[in-house]
Amino acid sequence: MLDTLGQYETEIWQAIGETFVMVGVSILAAVLIGLPVGTLLFLCRKGNMLENRFLFSTFNLLVNTIRSFPFLLLVVFLIPFTRFIIGTAIGTIAATVPLSIIAIAHYARLVEQSLLDVPKGVIEAAISMGASVKEVIFKFVYVEARSGLVLGLTTSIISFISYSTIMGVVGGGGIGDFAIRYGYQQFKTELMIYVIIIMVILVQIIQFIGTNLSRIIDKR
């Protein structure tokens, strides 16, 4: 087994690198855009600070639609959009576009749910102190919801890794694609097993870090 591995060392490292790029960009998109979108969903919901039926329904529908697409179809469906943004729909960088879109929708929903768990009374106290919407979010809501936000991101990252494994269809590469091309199509089962082991270890590590971090920062 180690022989076969040695033989494919460069390819494996390259595949791992591609996976890191795809998942890394997804995480960035989730935090930079998914977090604000989830917060907006929370704020616009009925009875909340910026109650707005139109905005809420629009974003709610958008998030639901993206999340209900079978991911493979979403990738294909987004090809024209990806080409428009990146210039090509093929390759690792192009693959980050559909991944980021699903990442945003995925994390936004988890963010919304975490924020809804913050006790209404805390928000009321904040408003009674004269806090603005921005201050309520940053000084109260995010502080109270932080362990949920971390756990949600952990779950999301693990999903992103899973989504990234099918990006071979648009030449995105990554270890999922490596396992299929070399392990499955060239009948080198041990390579496939090796990749699965890498993935299992990776997911364990991420879950371990996420669970512990969320516990450490939870003082409730």
């Binding site: 006790p119 009374g121 805390v122 009321e124 106290a125 408003i127 009674s128 102190m129 004269g130 806090a131 603005s132 201050e135 000084k139 109260f140 502080v143 109270e144 932080r146 920062i217 939870d218 003082k219 409730r220």
Partner: protein
């Protein structure tokens, strides 16, 4: 100094407050009492526009809250403290960090924040617990933190919604003593909502009785003083067996 003029508030079709007018005078401890669901909390929350009235006006020191833009309203809220039955502290912040929040919101000079927080914590007798989190405190201690937080910006008025209803009798007496102190030594006007007659009678100078969203009557009264309730097991047993043949089961 605080005036409600024919304020009404409905939740969908239910009218919780029906055209109520009420004036709170500078320096008084004003009680609001009534049965559950009478509209006491809603009336209190109308005073800082936590509930926006459907009709009527809210005025503080001659400024009309109901016609203010949101920025001005936030400014006014900083001079109105509020405490709640369930304390509503930020559980992920320490005692110190909870009390410093209103100072941050008010852009209080950075260098003076610490001493102001300590001053407020000393006032409620909690300066030694500044690094604890709310989950590590008793109910009475949590309410003291909430009081310190409400005092940080030197409010003119302190609005209290059932501040002792989650506390045992002896802790209730402690908290009432703190509130009375705030009124006497800091000159803060206090509005206190409670369904407990004893709480209201002990410290209020004037009491509004509410029923079905309306004011039934407002009466002047002489505070009876805070009875220092005992908390010892011996006291509980005495109370339980008073007037009864002693029978230790």
């Amino acid at each position: 100094m605080l005036k409600l003029d024919r304020v009404s508030k409905s939740f969908s079709t239910f009218q919780a407050v029906k055209s109520v007018s009420l004036t709170i005078n500078q320096g008084e401890i004003h009680g609001i009492i009534g049965a559950s669901g009478a509209g006491k909390s809603t009336l209190l929350r109308l005073m800082n526009l936590l509930e926006v009235p459907d009709e009527g006006e809210v005025e503080i020191n001659g400024q009309q809250l109901t016609s203010m833009n949101s920025k001005k309203l936030r400014q006014v809220r900083k001079s109105l403290g509020m405490i709640f039955q369930h304390f509503n502290l930020v559980a992920n912040k320490t005692v110190y960090d909870n009390v410093v929040i209103p100072l941050e919101l008010a852009n209080y000079p950075r260098a003076e924040r610490r001493s102001r927080v300590m001053e407020c914590l000393q006032f409620v007798g909690l300066d030694s617990l500044m690094d604890k989190y709310p989950a590590q405190l008793s109910g009475g201690q949590k309410q003291r933190v909430a009081i310190a937080r409400a005092l940080a910006n030197k409010p003119q008025v302190l609005l209290c919604d059932e501040p002792t209803s989650a506390l045992d009798p002896s802790t209730t007496a402690d908290i009432l003593t703190v509130l009375e102190n705030i009124n006497k030594s800091l000159g803060v006007t206090i509005v206190i909502v409670s369904h407990e007659m004893e709480v209201i009678r002990s410290i209020c100078n004037r009491v509004t009785v509410m029923a079905d969203g309306e004011i039934y009557d407002t009466v002047k009264c002489k505070p009876t003083g805070i009875l220092n309730k005992e908390n010892s097991p011996k006291y509980f047993v005495e109370q339980l067996t008073k007037d009864v043949e002693i029978d230790h089961a």
